[in-house]
Subunit: 116 residues, 2 copies
């Protein structure tokens, strides 16, 4: 069995000084990219919404990621729930192409379309 997450499997973080490496460290924590992606796609979410949308995330980790994302100014806690900041959306715009790309990547690795 694969030791990396084929679509339908598990993951893990890092350390440095350069901005890009600091960003990678942040994004390289469990669920970080998933939470940001979800917030940008779905719009404002309550804590419970996020728990539901991210399926198996534990409240402990969700709370930790939200705190980090808030400190990183990528997410904010407004009335109506958590939402991505302008900065967070900027980042999302850069990440968005990964959505399509991941489908072809998935196909290359698994030999089939996701739900195809």
């Amino acid at each position: 069995m694969a030791t990396f997450p084929t679509p339908g499997t598990p993951v893990r973080g890092s350390r440095s000084g350069k901005p890009i490496m600091a960003l990678f460290d942040l994004l390289g924590r469990s669920w970080c990219l998933g939470v940001l992606w979800t917030l940008c796609k779905a719009g404002p979410c309550t804590f419970r919404d996020l728990q539901t949308r991210c399926e198996s995330i534990s409240p402990t980790v969700l709370n930790a990621r939200l705190k980090e994302l808030r400190e990183a100014v990528l997410v904010e806690h407004a009335e109506g729930g958590y939402q991505a900041t302008a900065t967070g959306h900027q980042l999302f715009v850069l990440l968005e192409p990964l959505g399509k790309w991941s489908n072809s990547w998935s196909k290359q690795i698994t030999g089939r379309d996701w739900r195809g």
Copy 2:
């Protein structure tokens, strides 16, 4: 002190079925993005090269990430060392804009330029 990695601090992963989430799970492991980035920027590297360039990565984790990245067909082990595959470079092209963005993000958060 911040609980997220301001440029010059530490990081962490996740779980799902959709390709984008699987990709996030992979990229969300410690050092994964950093290793891929390094290989694409620096070209083929030996194990030792990567250890040096990624400063504090432990050989145990480096070995694990390389194995996962190989299974994900993003990296390959050729004569001359490890290098990104065509697929890996495709992904890098999508990630590359994060380099510049991270500098402005860093400035926004820390209030100063990186080494400015």
